[in-house]
Amino acid sequence: MIALGSEGATEILAHVAARTGLPMAANVVAVDAGDRWRVTRQRWAGSLLEEAWLDGEPRLFTVAAHAVPALEPSGAGQAKVVSVGPSITDGDLRARVVGQDLAAADRVSLSDAKVVVGGGRGMGSAEAFAMLDELAGLLGAAVGVSRVATSLGWRPHTQQIGQTGTRIAPELYIACGISGAIQHIVGAKSAKRILVINTDPDAPIFRRAKYAVIGDVHAVVPAISNEIRRVRGAG
């Protein structure tokens, strides 16, 4: 039994493990399915790979997010569909989602987004994130932030990228006013390209950058948004 690497799916599989009394491994990146199954799994946000035996029948594990390639659809195969009627008790529904209040920028999933616009201490204020929301809206991107931005109360923890936040794997990550602490980098290391905008040329995040703009985000980000609008208007 394999589950995807989201927090929700990990929670669900933990319930399956508790109900069946089976062992479970989380954040698996490779499996050697011999007579005994040996799994390789991420620890400490991927800083450490652990090898472990996974016994039990069936074996339960989740796949670490963005650690293995996504399968692309192929052919025209059709799966057989079987409807089953689970037995749900009142106790099973004691904890449930009763509503969601999503900001516009949250409507694109941070973990799935193809483009992520991120902001950190260099944004300077909660209000300055409006320019990131605007750019994200133009690009169909998600907004992510550094731990500092959440600690200062500028943005919610749900937008935090990093070791104690969400791991992202976009085609492009635009990091604005983020210095690049290791805890942030481990959450963004699967990004294919990183564009850094920062006034400090010595910021560690520049070592990860494919593209770099050494400049003030408060001038550069609005300029990018204006150019996008100009180009689209001309089209």
């Binding site: 039994m1 319930h15 569909v81």
Partner: protein, 94 residues
């Protein structure tokens, strides 16, 4: 034939990205073990009809059988209820 069961979440007209990653790893294990890949999806009551129409398309991801473990009582995400639904498929006791 033994089976590898993958918990899948749908997004748009197919599995979401993390589910596609899980299906990829399942496919590689199946390739070496000879097992078939099956999926379990837990739709909410409101999504059940739409998911039922899309579920056969998981065949394009190597899935042979999709177990739809929906219930009128599952109106939104509820971890224990979803865990019960998946456990039912895992144990064959749903």
């Amino acid at each position: 034939m033994s089976a590898i069961l993958v918990f899948v979440e749908m997004a748009g007209d197919g599995p979401d990205r993390l589910s596609a990653e899980a299906l990829g790893l399942a496919g590689r294990i199946a390739g070496t073990s000879g097992a078939e890949v099956q999926a379990v999806v837990v739709p909410t009551a409101a999504d059940r009809d739409a998911v039922e129409k899309l579920a056969p398309g998981l065949g394009r991801y190597g899935v042979t059988t999709v177990h739809l473990a929906g219930s009128d009582r599952i109106a939104s995400y509820a971890p224990a209820a979803w865990g019960a639904a998946v456990t039912g498929v895992v144990t064959g006791g749903s």
